[in-house]
């Protein structure tokens, strides 16, 4: 069950509400008391979980086909009638706090959070889906209930059923459970528009860690923008991943991509131990990022200059014919293998249907295969503008116990 509700629908004071509601939807509803949803699925050998993104929240369940009625039952039950009690909210607060603390132990999390906070001043992409620490501490149960009442309902939901089943019978089962639900769900569009960046923004964080780390971001187009295929190819050429979407699962990939430009320029030359790019197409303009972890003894200034030079070269000269041919081959061959099994297929359909429509996926594949080298170069020039740059550096400090 996918909801078009994510951290984009929050505001300061209740950041992290979508993620918190995600936790609460496992805490009970009229027919399923606390813990019973988990039990109903796991005891038949199934699996379930959920995740919250900026643009959506996805609750996914895989069960043997004979038990399809179980997730249909509880998804209908908790869509508008989840029990978000004061007591459970209080108890879950420490769990969510702990989840955030676990992430804070990683410099990469802290840097990325800072990067988006620096890049966005108006748009809700400026906070992480986990929410700000202070809001997790202070949000009330009533604020959560209000958030749930406003946004959760059939109007903002996409139900995906994938696998081996009788389509007609299943549709009847779905209608029986969902057609009588109140047609709730306020508008989830975000009307705040982030002004165009007028100059570079940068920040330096310090804390425990190993070697210096750096992440640079540039404002990038929304998923539906015509330039999306070219941006995807830029991501593949720079970082090596050939993913079409990142809805919790990606395409199978090596941990390292020796053919990627960042790897060749930074890791092979001894400047970094890891280097890659990252772009998750989102509903609204977001950030295209590159990041690198310095090799021992390499300064952040040197690392940043090297990263910039890779970006400049790509914008000046564009990709080579060989790179374009390799990328197209990978996209074509990868697409054939990317989705094995009902769970993967369900993710794919859910992602595209929630953000736009399944048609978009077909369009993207077709356009990906027809983008020219010149098109990629033009996109690099338009994307990697100095005034749109956001830089966050991480300088590790040596703490007790680091040895």
């Amino acid at each position: 069950m996918w909801y078009r509700v994510g951290s984009k629908n929050e505001q300061p004071g209740i950041t992290g509400a979508s993620h918190w509601v995600e936790h609460m939807l496992f805490e009970g509803s009229p027919r399923y008391r606390k813990g019973e949803i988990d039990r109903a699925v796991l005891r038949v050998g199934g699996g379930l979980n959920a995740f919250t993104d900026t643009d959506f929240t996805a609750y996914f369940t895989t069960v043997p086909r004979d038990h399809l009625s179980v997730p249909l039952d509880f998804e209908a039950d908790r869509m508008t009638r989840a029990a978000i009690t004061d007591e459970e909210v209080a108890r879950e607060r420490t769990v969510i706090h702990s989840e955030r603390e676990g992430n804070e132990n990683w410099p990469e999390f802290r840097v990325e959070e800072e990067l988006f906070q620096l890049a966005f001043r108006v748009h809700p992409y400026r906070w992480d889906a986990l929410g700000r620490r202070r809001d997790i501490e202070q949000m009330t149960a009533e604020q959560l209930r209000e958030y749930y009442r406003r946004f959760y309902g059939p109007k903002n939901a996409v139900l995906v059923v994938a696998g081996g089943f009788d389509a007609r019978r299943t549709e009847a089962e779905v209608r029986r459970r969902f057609s009588k639900l109140p047609p709730w769900g306020e508008d989830v569009e975000v009307h705040d528009v982030e002004p165009a960046p007028q100059g570079e923004r940068r920040s330096t964080l310090t804390g425990p860690g190993t070697t210096p780390y750096l992440q640079i971001g540039w404002r990038s187009p929304a998923l539906t923008d015509p330039s999306t295929p070219a941006t995807m190819i830029l991501d593949t050429i720079l970082g090596g991943e050939s993913r079409v979407f990142s809805a919790g699962i990606g395409w199978r990939g090596r941990h390292e991509h020796p053919t990627a430009r960042l790897y060749r320029a930074l890791v092979e030359k001894g400047l970094a131990v890891r280097a890659t790019s990252g772009w998750s197409p989102r509903f609204y303009p977001s950030l295209f990022t590159v990041q690198a972890q310095a090799a021992r003894g390499v300064s952040l200034d040197r690392l940043e200059r090297a990263l910039e030079s890779v970006i400049d070269r790509l914008a000046r000269q564009g990709p080579t014919a060989r790179e374009m041919s390799d990328v197209r081959t990978r996209i074509r061959r990868g697409a054939a293998l990317a989705y094995e099994g009902a769970t993967s297929v369900g993710f794919r359909i859910g992602y595209f249907s929630t953000l736009r429509s399944l048609v978009l996926e077909d369009q993207l594949y077709r356009r990906l295969l027809h983008v020219s080298a010149k098109g990629v170069q033009d996109q690099a020039r338009s994307l990697f503008r100095p005034e749109a740059r956001v830089v966050v550096r991480y300088e590790p400090t040596r703490e007790a116990g680091d040895e």
């Binding site: 699996g47 769990v95 702990s98 990868g334 094995e340 703490e399």
Partner: protein, 425 residues
């Protein structure tokens, strides 16, 4: 399901120069194939003073092999739509190639190049050494990896294969030369003591033929053996590792455990699932997270390997809660050992474990993982099919006894790594 197309049944073929060949049918409708070589090349085999060698060799396998240098190999894989991954563990080194089923024979030959004829080039050694040094620092700096590291360091004596994480230290990494890498590869990526598992839409005879064509010519047909110094159980003890500036304390409680071949493994497996292995159904999740609201993650693992094993309970919590969490984890461990699990709880956990088997056959990658486990442990070809019956035969008393033996809390080590506010008593 007939024997020929049931991915729960694997088939052992004729050996190729001592290499065990295993075939698993592809799951229905799968478009991909997967092949894995697992050999006696884990970090337990690291030469004295050269800790890190096994990991370096394992990582370098994907850096060029046979006619391909590193870039050419990467391009070859990209063009095939294939993925090569390597993994190093205490007892074994593993290489897996995943790609389009239609090209399985061609890709199997590529896997043979990677296993038998890696380049192990000096330039690549320099790069991997750099990466390993950073990982060493990360292991010390991150509360989770630090807690794991200390748990094994305290549990196992010097020279025990499970004592380290195989990353070595700056000095041991500096000692590794290209010549030492070649020697390690020659004596540990062998045919003897190794298995090749292929999940493909092809009969066993075709897999045997393809394996014979590609996988002959190992330098050694006898695998090395590991030395296991005796683990003397000490009294339960706590090791605090203060790491300032972090947000969360990582807790581990654990110790030595049984091997996969132990006849009590099914009962021990269930004991672990009940305690913390079966996600939201497990006692640790329900008591420490769901009821206590104290942690985001609380789980347990039982890593039963070929020659031995270890167990560990793990949780992460804020610095103000760690004492309470340790107390709850300890109470649940004690309950496992002192009280028989109820018939209903045992049934729920057992049926959950049995029910997930068919779902693991959704994709080639998941089915293949099961086959590799069966083959590596030299279990019978129909083991996965018999697994439900093995679990259903376990009685509550056996679960308690298995918990006592395989997750022995009386000799457990407790490690706390992170911003510990108060010295533990």
């Amino acid at each position: 399901m007939s024997r020929a197309v049931d991915p729960l049944r694997i088939e052992y073929g004729d050996e190729v120069d001592g290499l065990t060949i295993v075939r698993q049918p592809s799951p229905a409708g799968a478009a991909s194939f997967s092949a894995t070589y697992v050999g006696p090349a884990g970090w337990g085999f690291d030469p004295t003073g050269e800790a890190g060698t096994a990991r370096v060799v394992n990582q370098l396998l994907s850096s060029g092999a046979g006619p391909y240098d590193r870039m050419a190999l990467a391009r070859r894989l990209d063009r095939a739509g294939a993925t090569l991954s390597t993994e190093c563990a205490p007892e074994s080194g593993e290489v897996t190639l995943w790609g389009p089923a239609a090209d399985w024979e061609e890709l199997l030959a590529l896997l043979a190049d990677v296993v038998l004829r890696p380049r192990l080039a000096p330039d690549d050694l320099v790069r991997v050494r750099r990466q390993l040094l950073e990982r060493q620092m990360r292991e010390l700096s991150q509360p989770a990896s630090r807690a794991d590291r200390e748990l094994f360091r305290v549990t196992y004596p010097e020279t025990h294969p499970y004592r380290s994480s195989g990353l070595g230290d700056p000095r041991s990494i500096a000692r590794i030369t290209p010549g030492r890498l070649l020697a390690f590869h020659r004596s540990h990526y062998t045919s003897g003591g190794a298995v090749l598992v292929v999940t493909a839409p092809a009969p066993l005879s075709a897999v045997e033929r393809a394996a014979r064509a590609s996988f002959s010519g190992f330098a050694e047909d006898r695998g090395p053996s590991l030395r296991f110094p005796r683990v003397r159980p000490g009294t339960a003890r706590t090791l605090p590792v203060e790491l300032k500036g972090r947000s969360q304390v990582e807790i581990r409680i654990g110790g030595d455990s049984i091997a996969r071949s132990d006849p009590g493994y099914p009962a021990a497996f269930l004991a672990n699932e009940i305690l913390g292995g079966r996600a939201q159904l497990s006692r640790l999740f329900r008591r420490v997270r769901e009821k206590g609201g104290l942690v985001y993650h609380a789980s347990s693992e039982l890593e039963a390997m070929r020659f031995g094993g270890y167990w560990a309970v793990g949780a992460g919590t804020g610095p103000e809660h760690w004492e309470k969490v340790v107390s709850l984890l300890s109470k649940e461990l004690e309950r496992m050992e002192r009280t028989d699990v109820s018939a209903s709880e045992l049934r729920e956990i057992r049926e959950s474990a049995i029910g997930e088997l068919p779902l693991a056959l959704e994709s080639t990658a998941d089915a293949h993982e099961l086959a590799v486990e069966v083959a590596y442990h030299r279990l019978p070809g129909d083991y996965l099919s018999r697994w439900p019956a093995l679990l259903r035969a376990v009685r509550p008393r056996e679960v308690r006894e298995a918990a006592e033996r395989a997750m022995d809390r009386r000799h457990a080590v407790t490690v706390l790594a992170g911003p510990i506010a108060v010295s533990p008593r």
